[in-house]
Amino acid sequence: MHIPDGYLSPSTCAVLYGAAIAAWYACLKRLKRVLLTRVVPLISVFAAFAFVVMMFNLPLPGGTTGHAIGVTIAAIVLGPAGAVVSISLALALQALLFGDGGITTLGANCFNMAVIGSLVAYACYRALSAQALIDSRRRVIAAGIAGYLAANASALAAAIELGIQPALFHDAAGTPLYAPYPLKIAIPAIMLGHLTFAGIAEAVISAGLVAYLQAADPALLARTSGLREAAVASGLRAPASLRRLWATVAVLLILTPLGILATGKAWGEWAPSAFSRPEARAQIAATSNNVPPPAAPPTGMQRLATLWTSPFPAYAPAFVRSPALGYLLSAMFGAGVCLLIALLAQAGLRRSHSEQAS
């Protein structure tokens, strides 16, 4: 899957370098925020580990052997950002020191294996192991499936990059200038090997390493487990994104009285009484492409309108005189109810989960 120099056109290489650089930048920024100074030795040594594991000949079912990428276990232990950087480092070393993969195609190889591989592996692992305990068997299976899918997603990306070359880059006589095979040949040729060998190798090493960590070093699985206790145990501070979310909610709450500035009524949010008031009728017609509303409110609307009376009609409790204050109170009350429901649901889920576990 390591694309050598000469297989991809310079413009393809440039685009994929751009994509990889954007990913590196975002990941390094994220890592610095979460792990601060520990990031440099951790990522570097993990890159060395991934490099060495890539050289292991793994015995596969059927008597053959295969090489893994190591991206799945990196995503599980370090998280997607750490995996992108450490696998990219390992790929850069392979290209520079051992000629495995080209220099012009390093961006493409990093994009395929480090970026796509990490993201697919992490997303699959998190989705399939959601709410599973650290020592759950489901985590091992999730890691295996994530490894298989990540290796194949990386291979598919490489196959597509190689397969579009003859269509995009050929001379006047139709001679392909770079990789010569179109998508219909490149995709099956590359995917066959990955669906059968490389994908299984990645699945075997990922599942095996997760099983090993469950027994030997479960703390390493805690960071990306999604379990609340795990995050506390590993000593990580709350991700900044959550604090930013709270700040956004607060700003939105404060800004709710802005709604008073809007004139008229939102289209489709009319009350049955609006159909009988001339000024409201004129406004409905004006916002409905000058189609006049029916003379009486629709019967269904009339029937359902009295079904539920909100505690704060028109976003303001009856005892509040100032509309701005009414908006603020309504927003705080609404947000509070939403939070309460969310907290109750979370507590219920956790209780059912701990009952299951015991």
Binding site: T37, S44, A95
Partner: protein
Amino acid sequence: MVASSLRTLSRTLSHALVSEQIAHQSGLMQSLNPRVRVVGIVALVITIALLYKPWVALALFVASVALALASAVPLRTLALRVWLVVLAFTGVIALPALFLTPGDPLSAAPSITRQGLHTALMLIARVETAVTLTTVLVLTTPWAQILKALRSLGIPKEAVMMLAMAHRYIFLLAETATQMFESRESRRVGVLRGPERRRVATQAAGVLMSKSIDLSHDVFLAMQSRGYRGEVHVLSEQHMTVRDYAALAVFLAIAALAIWVGR
């Protein structure tokens, strides 16, 4: 399985030793500033990707072999490590293109097309030249100098530092893995079945990972004890001489000429 993993690991280690030996001999590349070597070789590798005419690609290949010879890189090393490996890999990939590429027929019995021959030749020539040039750079330039050159060329210092550390620990971890396999092998009686072999391999990888994480903690503490606060400083005192500028001009002139003639 274990034996072949060991072979791969020891081959990696021995390649690194060969590199160090050649880098300390006197030769054309060795006499140039590492920045000139890196820029020159990268310029030529990009050039080879831009070429369309096989004869120009071939000329660039000959030039890269001449550069290797002038830099004390043995042809035998190049032939075994680069040319044969690339020919086996890219040759197998390029061969069906002779027949599968639609175009003007050159021969009837096996229906080879002119376009197929052109694309197969270009693919092999490009890959052989690019890998030869990269190998010449790596064999003639110690890793620390490549990193310094990358730093002075604007690669972020965090990236350069992580590359340096990863390189440093690859050899340590490769050696640790070799020792683990050897000790496991020395305690083995009889033949292992498939699932057992898989378990041995993944367990070795697991132990290696635990050791890597422990090692990273130790390295972090060592760095902190030396005053590391998240800021990276890389020394790079590399002075360019007139000869270096002249060599850089020659590299870039060859690249420009090849692009002008070869497209």
